[in-house]
Point group: C2
Amino acid sequence: MHSINPIGIIHSELKRLEDCPKQENEGAPAATVEIYPAFAEAAKDIKPGDRIILLTWLHQSKRDTMVTRPRDNKNAKLTGVFSTRSPDRPNPIGLHISVVHSVKDNILKVAEIEVLDGTPVIDIKPYLER
Amino acid sequence: MHSINPIGIIHSELKRLEDCPKQENEGAPAATVEIYPAFAEAAKDIKPGDRIILLTWLHQSKRDTMVTRPRDNKNAKLTGVFSTRSPDRPNPIGLHISVVHSVKDNILKVAEIEVLDGTPVIDIKPYLER
């Protein structure tokens, strides 16, 4: 068992799970990433235009879900969650690719991501094309 | 504070930090992902040829590192870790893109990744092209 400490928090218009689109490209809104002061130095080189990977802690997820029907489609077959992007999974880490629109102090405005308001941010990495 | 429970472990020829290349494309070896039995059902649909994202817990990392010189280059400027892929970061989550070569029971053989032997695996996601 390891411990995760949030390094920031997401502010978004998505206030409830029911508001969330199933994929980022289906109409999610732009969001704000507030970096907590203790971690501001680690974010000091993030600039507008940077493509980033945000890792979040999907705090409303079920951690005992091992299989799911993708996209809540009742006709889909039960699929192991490691083959899906379901938020319900043993360690509910969200992975979101975004672009930084602006940076002011410890506040990043980023392009549309499918993340609920109040979701903890646990890491930010540069997005490197493969 | 949230708790992470490993869902598996990496077996690799990379036994020591000094053995690790700085990026996957610089000669890392193929590796084996052992999924723990409690999570085998979540991995049941992973098949040879699948492109996956492995999230690992970089257990030998320093968590109080906020700035680093990329690739240990003494001439590089001190850069906030959220703009680097340094394993030293507040929540030391490793993100590795790989391909599944074979699956036998709860053992996945995967293409070359830069991960130390014994590293905990915390999540597996499908890699979706953007």
